[in-house]
């Protein structure tokens, strides 16, 4: 019952996926997943399995699993060029970034600045034309289970129930009792009651929560989020941001978050990378010095205001450049 987490799973050299492991004793309660009680949450998690036996306990971080996946991302001299017949589009160029284990960073910029492209490259969904991206020292070549991905919308498998969606990853990776894991992660996002609903029966916000649960259920060291709240209304969005911070605090995965919402980026992140457009590259890195835990009230503080002003100025410069070049 020590904090044994799935990030201890051996990693396949080529695919980067955790190697299937047989559990000798399936009757034993799962060691890998302790229901997480996020701060300020009441009834979520662990209700079904007798709270006395399994203490709600947060993973204590990387210290106890030395030398194994931590979620450090190294982006070295990366460029992505799209070549379509005669047109050559440099989407991303000259990006050099190291993202620390457990860090929450945002890629911020106007639409079309290549932030999603960069994120997709980290996830292995796009192969960089130049340079190298590695996660914990292992080069990324194709999508793999080291990165959980939450897309903007409609990425849940519509033919699976919410529970099946969440249990899919654990099942694919050969984790023991995937359904149980699925239930626990659904409970984490407060949707245990909707386990048997299909995505089409859920609201946009619920779908994104299922999406987050699904991405986390494989316990990836890195979580990539591509404008996950972009399609939600302002209220839902704000609640989801807070919820995400709670979950991140509990899991301490590295998060790379793509958004064009300045407040969202600052509120969530340790560092915000403001991107330059055409070709996309990092214009400036802004360290968000605000303390944690954060609540939406923090947006009203002067410190937040200062950062916001600085970021908005940078963004505006970029947007103007795009705007002017577009109208020529």
């Amino acid at each position: 019952m020590e904090g044994v987490f799935l990030r201890q799973a051996t990693i396949h050299r080529k695919t980067g996926n955790p190697v299937r492991q047989r559990h000798e004793d399936k009757s034993r309660p799962l060691p890998h997943l302790v229901p997480v009680q996020a701060p300020g949450e009441h009834t979520r998690g662990g209700g079904r399995h007798g709270s006395g036996e399994r203490v709600a306990r947060l993973p204590t971080g990387r210290g106890e699993t030395p030398g194994i996946l931590d979620g450090a991302i190294d982006i070295a001299d990366v460029a992505v060029v799209f070549q379509r017949k005669s047109t050559r589009l440099v989407a991303v160029e000259d990006v050099n970034v190291r993202i620390e284990p457990g860090e929450f960073v945002s890629l911020l910029g106007p639409s079309g600045c290549g932030k999603s492209t960069l994120l997709n490259a980290i996830g292995g969904m796009i192969v960089p034309t130049q340079g190298q991206i590695s996660i914990d020292g292992q080069s990324v070549r194709e999508p793999n289970a080291r990165c959980g991905v939450v897309f903007q919308q409609h990425s849940l498998f519509p033919w699976m129930t919410a529970l099946d969606n969440v249990a899919f990853g654990p099942e694919m990776l050969g984790y023991p009792a995937p359904e149980q894991t699925g239930r626990e992660f659904l409970a984490l996002v407060g949707l245990e009651k909707f386990a048997h609903s299909y995505p089409s029966q859920l609201s946009g916000g619920m779908q994104q929560r299922v999406g987050i649960a699904r991405a986390l259920a494989t316990r990836p060291p890195v979580l990539l989020m591509d404008e996950p709240f972009g399609a939600l209304d302002a209220q839902t969005r704000s609640i989801m941001q807070e919820e995400l911070l709670k979950i991140w605090t509990a899991f301490k995965t590295t998060v790379v978050f793509v958004t064009h919402d300045v407040d969202e980026a600052i509120f969530l992140s340790d560092r915000v990378f403001v991107m330059r457009s055409t070709p996309g590259s990092i214009k400036e890195e802004i360290r968000v010095t605000l303390g944690r835990p954060r609540t939406p009230e923090i947006m009203l503080t002067d410190e937040f205001g200062d950062i916001r002003r600085r970021v908005k100025h940078l963004i505006r410069e970029e947007s103007l450049k795009v705007f002017n070049s577009g109208t020529k």
Partner: protein
């Protein structure tokens, strides 16, 4: 509707549902009524039972063929040929379509061949079918399979091709391998189109079996129609035709009925 809704929930729900149902039935009865009426009038004016017997004569023929058991035997013979041929087609077409949708190089080799064979109507295969398989069930299996294959294959293939990259990427990030991508992502995301293909395929198969039996069999509805024509028993020809129509509709209805179990996520 709007005025009814002011009476309260129960009425708004009960009334339109009932009128919807009864009006459907009423519409159906009217349609068939007109058909039978026109048919009767024309048959009377012609006054020739060989060209067109009155509906009542067809009904008599129907009860006679039902009583001597030959109609049931013919129906069963035809149904068996349809189902065997249809199943053969489905078991080849669906996996093949999924593989082609997934592996591009395979597609380049196989698609041109399929496009070449596709325009050949099932009836053009009959001489070959007789040469290869003789007379009886086998050539009919072949013909019904040919007829069902293309709608099933093409719909499945397009369904498989239209799988969303986002779903494939999401699955890969969740650790899915090739096999799982094929069976757990590609196949279910193509399933609505596969289902459409199966529905069309079954219809085509049913039409083809009659064609096949006209020539290449000695039992079944098609054969019965053919023999009755030679005996100038037009009422029996019409019994066969009506039976084909009714059974075809029932098959379609049955498939629509189980759709909810096959595609549960498509239900509202």
């Amino acid at each position: 509707m709007t005025t009814l809704s002011s009476f309260g929930l129960t009425r708004t729900f009960a009334f339109p549902a009932l009128t919807g149902w009864t009006s459907n039935l009423l519409g159906m009865a009217t349609g068939f009524g007109i058909l039978v009426l026109v048919w009767t009038v024309i048959a009377w004016r012609l006054g020739n039972a060989v060209l067109l017997p009155v509906p009542l004569a067809v009904l008599e023929g129907f009860s006679m063929l039902l009583r001597d058991g030959s109609l049931i035997a013919d129906v069963l013979a035809s149904l068996k040929r349809v189902f065997v041929g249809f199943l053969i087609a489905a078991f080849i077409a669906v996996p093949l379509a999924m593989l082609l949708a997934y592996f591009r190089p395979l597609r380049r080799a196989v698609l041109p061949v399929i496009n070449l064979i596709r325009p050949i109507p099932p009836i053009a295969w009959i001489p070959i079918a007789i040469l290869w398989f003789g007379i009886g069930d086998k050539p009919s299996y072949f013909i019904t399979a040919i007829a069902a294959f293309f709608p099933i294959f093409l719909n499945s293939f397009f369904g498989g091709q239209s799988v969303e990259d986002q779903h494939l990427n999401a699955a890969k990030c969740l650790g899915a391998g090739k096999r799982a991508l094929l069976l757990r992502i590609l196949f279910p995301s193509a399933l609505p189109m596969i289902w459409t293909g199966l529905k069309i395929g079954l219809g085509q198969s049913w039409m083809a079996v009659v064609t096949a039996e006209l020539i290449a069999a000695q039992s079944g509805l098609g054969y019965m129609i053919q023999i009755s024509r030679l005996n100038l028993e037009t009422s029996h020809v019409l019994v066969g035709m009506v039976t084909i129509g009714v059974l075809g509709s029932i098959m379609t209805l049955m498939l629509s009925g189980v759709e909810g179990f096959i595609l549960p996520w498509k239900q509202k």
